[in-house]
Symmetry: C2
Subunit: 361 residues, 2 copies
């Protein structure tokens, strides 16, 4: 098993406006993407990888001259890996509204000549999928062998199967849900309030002020990290461990190891992530609810991304006599376990892609 090696992002400009779910439209836009492996002659071996909240098109491989620049799903994708680039042509694409290259709030609005900022239109999972479909058009790919994604990426995979059922042969949705629960929305909302009430947010036009609402971003990320880790994983990793042998009796100094971890994650995130993008992406998560268009059949909700939520999806698919496989893997690490290289999980995905590869020949 090897890495795909050095990779280079590419970009595709779309001059045709994109009509959005909100009724607004993007006059023109650019998508940044990467590809690994080779598109076969039949153009039938393409696999699209959709990213979650803070990831990007950089799914596998490394960038020249950058240490620690492995793509976010590098453990899964490469020659001989579970998603084998000797067999598949893998596409990673950065979504609209992101801060990693595709058109987003920090880019110039062609209508005003100023950065979009808070004026960037609200985009949904469906909008992302529509934009991705146009990228496939540009790449000359009529039908995907598979779409795969975890978490918010899994929602995109689900949306693909609903919007473009003829354009994919397989949909692999990992650690995902048919919609967010009230509690999930609640956490997103607190994170957004922390950002938009940071005085450095300037109503979303902070670019013009040369500042970044880092205080809000830090708090948002700290909240996120609590929800990504399961209770048990956090307890096992940090427990009540303290930085010092005895308490300092301070309300502001770091006393517990978990505090140190969260502050570190918050600080790091605030250095590279865009606040407007955070608002847009969490909102896309909130809105996603394909059942809304089908009389709310899937909408009785528990905790998002739990096996219960996945089973809801499976039931809905079975009810419609669809060909569906479901695997539940014990993962004590919580939601972000979909990014880890658990042996059982990767063995399952490997078997899945082996089967897909057979029909692709």
């Amino acid at each position: 098993m090897h890495s795909v090696g050095q990779v280079t992002p590419q970009s595709q400009h779309f001059a045709q406006p994109l009509a959005l779910q909100s009724g607004a439209s993007l006059r023109d836009y650019t998508l940044v993407y990467e590809t690994y492996g080779t598109l076969n002659e039949a153009r039938s071996n393409a696999v699209l990888v959709c990213h979650a909240l803070n990831a990007s098109h950089h799914v596998a491989g490394t960038y020249a001259g950058q240490v620690n620049s492995e793509g976010w799903w590098d453990n899964l994708i490469g020659p001989g890996k579970a998603l084998d680039t000797n067999r598949f042509f893998v596409i990673g694409v950065n979504n609209l509204g992101s801060c990693f290259g595709s058109t987003g709030p920090m880019h110039l609005n062609p209508d005003t000549g100023a950065p979009y900022g808070a004026g960037f239109p609200v985009v949904t999972v469906e909008d992302w999928v529509d934009a991705q479909a146009r990228l496939l058009d540009a790449l000359g790919i009529e039908q995907l062998a598979a779409v795969i994604g975890g978490s918010l990426g899994g929602m995109q995979a689900l949306s693909w199967s609903l919007r473009y059922p003829q354009r994919l042969r397989h949909c692999i949705a990992v650690a995902t849900a048919p919609n967010l629960s009230a509690q999930n929305i609640a956490f997103n909302e607190v994170a957004r309030r922390a950002i938009v009430t940071d005085p450095d947010f300037h109503g979303g036009h902070y670019y013009a002020h040369g500042v970044v609402p880092k205080r809000g971003l830090r708090v948002a990320r700290m909240i996120g990290h609590i929800t990504y880790l399961s209770d048990d994983a956090m307890e096992a990793k940090f427990g009540r461990g303290m930085k010092g042998a005895t308490p300092n009796y301070s309300t502001q100094d770091i006393e517990f190891e978990i505090e140190s971890y969260l502050r570190y994650q918050g600080d790091k995130f605030s250095e590279y992530f865009d606040a407007n993008t955070y608002l847009l992406i969490t909102r896309a998560l909130d809105y996603f609810d394909p059942a809304r268009d089908f009389d709310g059949d899937l909408s009785a909700a528990f905790a998002a991304f739990s096996p219960e939520r996945s089973r809801e999806l499976v039931k809905a698919l079975l009810d419609n006599r669809r060909d569906v496989s479901y695997a539940e893997i014990e993962a004590p690490h919580g939601h972000d376990a979909f990014l880890l290289d658990d042996a059982r999980y990767h063995a399952l995905l490997r078997a899945c892609f082996d089967n897909i590869a057979k029909e692709t020949k």
Copy 2:
């Protein structure tokens, strides 16, 4: 069952310094308290009620001329109620560091003549209990019939039984835990960071600037409300309900009912609660860990305040051949259910106080 009627807070000044767990001391301080019912001749029927995060000494009854001024545990305490003021002399006391009357960060530091602000010493559950014990001295009460509290109040009740075992006959600890889990500390830490990074916090000396770090308080309270409600209760109450018939596609407007609820709670809290007090009280929660002094026997932790955490306490008490009763009541409303008047819960407490009253005669 009646209300205790109109009540009036009293206050007691202590000129003797109070030595704190941190090694610091409070030169002098005042405790505000209320009492309901009558102390019997044997002075044996007193019940102390300890409060949790945002409550106070105002446990039962109403204030003259103030509508909706019922005390926070008015459904439990009164003539004929489960904690019957015809039988018991009930004391509610406001803790040190609070913002509801007892000496706290907004009061003048006698050493400097300026408000304590961030200079108010960090107080612990044990410090609160020590201060409460002095109030009992002042009231001429040698031994309590019982100490009762829920959540952080339950921690004080537990601490009473460890620090002053001869001064109470019964300890009733509701919805509490032997210590906070990593996840609980994590939520407290995010709330504190939201407060202290609000530019209006001014390092804890915002009183001098005539401002209040409301943005931070709002976020802190929103986080709190997510943790007070169980997943299921939030889902049942709000689900994915939206304010409008169709989405507005906005990242900042309220779209979901849960957002409206959280913002309302945050706004309300920021109008009356003191930011330094919030820091102090959440820190007292974090630090509480009586097992730390006993080789950490109780410290293997899961989610705080869950039945598992209560059972840990029961096991530790049984291991020491203590007389202990444990009741587990299904409460779909989550942690704050200890404040509700669930019939089974109140019937249990009524039976418990009936037994205590019998021996008190």
